[in-house]
Symmetry: C2
Subunit: 295 residues, 2 copies
Amino acid sequence: MTAYLIDKIVIIGVGLIGGSLALALKQAASVRTVVGWDTDRENLELAVQLGVVDIAADSVEQAVADADVVVLAVPVRSMLAVAQNVIAHMKCGAVLSDTGSVKQTVVSELEPLAQAGGVNFIAGHPISGTERSGAGSAFAELYRGKRCILTPTINSNIEALTLIETMWQAAGSEVVRMDIVKHDRILAAISHLPHMIAYSLVNSVSSYDRYEENILDFSAGGFRDFTRIASSDPVMWRDIALNNRESLLEMITQFEQFLAELKQDIDSGDGEKLFEFFYRSKISRDALLAQGVKS
Amino acid sequence: MTAYLIDKIVIIGVGLIGGSLALALKQAASVRTVVGWDTDRENLELAVQLGVVDIAADSVEQAVADADVVVLAVPVRSMLAVAQNVIAHMKCGAVLSDTGSVKQTVVSELEPLAQAGGVNFIAGHPISGTERSGAGSAFAELYRGKRCILTPTINSNIEALTLIETMWQAAGSEVVRMDIVKHDRILAAISHLPHMIAYSLVNSVSSYDRYEENILDFSAGGFRDFTRIASSDPVMWRDIALNNRESLLEMITQFEQFLAELKQDIDSGDGEKLFEFFYRSKISRDALLAQGVKS
C-alpha cells in the first residue's frame, strides 16, 4: 500500500488553476482525497461531475478542519477574506498555500494571519495557464514541464516548504524558489505587461470607427494569436493590476518609451533605425525558442 | 486536356508568400509553368530543390518576356525597382500583380509605370502569413480559407482583375475588393500596429536589467504566443513601417491613448474601471472566435 504525499487536500477555487492542480495530483496518485470548494456553486458542481475533485465541500469551514493542505486558487484580491475564514478552522500545523500571480501583497497579508493561527503558509505561483477559466477548462497536464515559483520567507517552515515543493513536482512542475519582490517584478515584465498590452490593443482596434464594419472581421490568425490573452478572466486581471501596481507601472512606462522610440523612427522615416529595432527584437524572440523555454 | 488558368507565371521573390502561392497554384493545377526568381540565389535554388517552383529563371528579364502573369512578392520598398525592370520586358497585355502589405504607395508607383509599359497592373494583398520566411517555410495551404484583398482602381483592366481574382480563389482564398486607403488603414489597425507592439514589447522586456538573468527565460507559453509575430522578417516590416506611415502613426497614437487610460486606472487603483476595461476587451476578443474569423 502506497502512502500518499497528502492525505486530504482542500482546493478553494476549482477553476483552471485549482482544478488542474487537483487533476494532476490525482493522476500522480499523490493525494488520497481532493475536496473542492468554490463560491460559484455551479462551477463546483461541474468540478465534481467532471471528476476534477472527489467531493464538494458542504461548508468550507468543515472541509478544511481536518485537511493536511489547503490551496487557495482564487483571484488575488479575494485571498485575504478567504484565508481569514480558512485559517480559523484549519488544524494546527497544517499547510496553507496559494497560486496567486502577485506575491508581495498576498504574503504580507496571509503570513502573519497564518502564523497567528498556527498554520504554515507557503506562497506559490505556477507559471502557466490559458486564457480560459472555470472547472471545465482544467486539465491534468497544465503544469507539466512548466515552472512553479515558490516565495518562502525567513518565517517559512522548512517541512511545509518541502511538502509544497514536492506537491508541485508531482504535478509535473519544475519548482524554483525566488525572492518575493523579484517575483513580482519579473512577472510584471513577462506576464502582467503583455496582458495589459493585449487588452489595450483589442480595445483600441475595436474602437476604430472610420468604417461601418467591425474591422476585427478582417483580422487573420496573427491578430487572433496575439490577442488570445485578452480573453482572460477580467476579475483575475483586475486584481493583479491592483496588487502589482508599482512593478506594473514601471514596466508600462518602459514599454511606452520603446514604443515612443519606434513611433519617432516611423515618423522621421528612419529606415536604418527601424530595421535595427525590428532585428534586435527578432533576435531576442528567436532566442526564446532556441532555449526551449518552458511553456 | 484541361486548359490552365495561367500558362506561365513568374514569381519574383520565392519566400513564404511567393513560394506558397506557387505551391497552391501548382496543387490546384491552375498553372502550366511556375518560374521563380529571387535576388537571394541560395533561396532560389532551395525553391527549385523543394519543388516550390518548376524552374529558376536565369535572368528576370528573360523570364518575364513571355509570362502571362508576373507576381511581385518582395518587400514593399523593393517593389518599384523590381517593377521598373520587369515591366520593361513583359509582353504587351500581360498581367502584373503584387502581394505587398501596403497598397497606397505601391499602386501610386506601379500603376503609371505599368500603364506606360502596356502591362495590366492589379494590386493584391493576401491576409495571411506566419512569422517564418524563405522558400523553406512555404506551403500550399497558407491561403486556404483566408482573405485576399485586391485594390483595383478606375484604371484597372477588368479581365486582368478577374484573372487575378480567380487565381487567388484557386489558391483557396476568399477574394475581397477594397478601396486602397481603407485597406491601408484597416491593415494598420489589425496587422501593422500589433507587429509594432510585439517588437516594442520584446525589446522592452529583454532590456530589463534589474537582475542578472535574462528574464525572458521565465516567460511561459503566453509570452511566446504573444510575441510570435516579433520573429517576422525585419526588412519586410521596416518597409511596411516606412510605407504606411500615416495610418500607422494614427493607430499607434490611438493605442497609446488606451494604454495611458489603463495606466491611469492602475495608478489610481480604480478597480471598477479596470474590470470594465478588461471585460470590454474580453467581449470583443471572444466575439472574434465566435464569428469564426478567417485565419
